[in-house]
Amino acid sequence: MTKDMMPSFNLFQPADIESAIGLLTDAGDKGWAIAGGQDSLDWFKDRIKRPETVVDLSGITALKGIRETADGVEIGALTTLTEVENNPIIKEKYGLLSMAAARVASPQIRNKGTLGGNVSQDARCWYYRSGLDCYRAGGNTCYADTPEGMNREHCIFGASRCVAVSPSDTAMALSSLDAQMVIQNAAGETVVAAEDFFIGPAIDITNMNILKPGDILTAIRIPAKWAGAKFYFEKVADRNTWDFALVNIASAIIEKDGIIEDIRISCGAVECVPKRLHVVEDIVRGSVANEETATLAASAASRGAAPLNYNHFKIPLMENLVKRAIRG
């Protein structure tokens, strides 16, 4: 029980983005921004991350809400997953994100957890989570990629010393919707594509995204291009609630006269970042969305996969999910 009292920190609750950036910039790597707290508080309770300054962003109204813009929709990073799931604009035009948000964790976590937090959460590898000095924690070994390592949930693509996977469900939807991430810091505002927001271990082994101390992910923009497209989202997990994906898939297809005119398809929990399946997209573009196209696309989807001891099952699982997504 006493283990569950978090180590002390100074808590700040700024009312605007500028004050929050000021506090986080001053705190540097001893600072921590907390949105819904559904990932952060676990780190604090386990005493693995021990920030001195915690900046609670939940009082900043400018970070919340869903607004239609001239070329799409802008979602405040602190909008809860339940709001994203039930928002009429998202449901009607960008249903892929609504479907993904609905499959995250449990109702209680979706009521508190935010879209920004869901895409920025840290790796769920239990060796890393239990505080071991692995590569991701700044050490010089990987406990999962060993002959005895329990790596059933780990990656089949893009391993570079670390074999953790992207834990988010909404990240796959955002990747397939060509979303743009709006980041603010003391120097101003930067907008990056979702594909560039997430980074693998070959680029930075201790971070899953490009956010640096002093940065705040303020909003996520979805362009109108994919509004009303044909969407498919499926998450396969051991448990249908709370659990993280073993593999998930998110696709957006624009069809004309039965022909796939354009497509985005992203697969999760197979790599450290949402895996855009460019090969699948190239194969099916211009083809009829039928069983034959789906089978061809599926067989190409897992090309180059390098499974670990216990996760070979992810290859056929991924192929079947691609098949279902194309077949619709």
């Binding site: 006493t2 978090m6 920190f9 100074n10 808590l11 309770k45 449990s106």
Partner: protein
């Protein structure tokens, strides 16, 4: 012939008559704040100095729980579940996993269910909190969900029950006539290790049918 219970001492029915039950004793102690263990739990965490930084939150706050405003001293790193149980004596809210996985600590914040173990108390100063103690009537009448759970024999060990009740009450507030599948979804954030899920779902369906 020997009776099974030959002494009142072994009659389990008599233990509930004890003037001072274990539960009342513990709650009384929390109210007095005299247990060394509890005091250590709450103060022993300030190991890196007790002076808060300028601009950090004020510790003495008012929070709105079950319709009454309670003044309470809250640490910056304190969760709502800890405040409710250890400082306000509202021990109906249980702490199971303390990691947002089991739902035993479910409370409503502005009518929406949250895992209170994963909410900083300071972030809900301006919100209306409803715990399992606050879902019944003013004179202790059971909520229809609670009555139905008794009838359907939903609780076995009972540890997850307060969380199940709060999740079910919140569900019926926003959707008074849920389908069985919607009930299943509504309670999906609450683990029951006895596996009485169907009994809980039956109870919520029964309660919805009566209102």
């Amino acid at each position: 012939m020997q009776k099974k219970f030959n002494s009142d001492r072994y009659n389990p029915l008599n233990t509930v008559r004890d003037a001072l039950s274990r539960r009342t004793f513990i709650k009384g102690v929390i109210a007095c704040g005299t247990v060394a263990g509890t005091a250590g739990l709450m103060t022993g965490c300030s190991e890196n100095g007790s002076t808060p930084a300028t601009g950090s939150v004020e510790r003495l706050v008012s929070i709105n729980v079950n319709g009454s405003i309670r003044r309470v001293d809250v640490l910056p790193n304190e969760t709502l579940a800890q405040t409710l149980r250890n400082k306000l004596g509202l021990t109906g809210t249980k702490i199971g996993c303390d990691r947002g996985a089991c739902g035993a600590c479910t409370v409503m914040i502005n009518g929406v269910t949250h895992n209170s173990c994963s909410v900083l108390t300071h972030s809900v100063r301006d919100a209306a909190i409803t715990t399992v103690e606050g879902v019944g009537g003013p004179n202790g009448e059971l909520h229809p969900v609670q009555q139905a759970m008794i009838e359907e024999l939903a609780p076995q060990c009972g540890y997850c029950t307060p969380g199940q009740v709060v999740s079910a009450v919140a569900l019926l507030q926003r959707n008074p006539k849920p389908t069985r599948d919607e009930v299943r979804q509504g309670l999906s954030g609450n683990l029951c290790r006895c596996g009485a899920y169907n009994n809980y779902i039956n109870a919520v369906v029964l309660a919805a049918g009566r209102s």
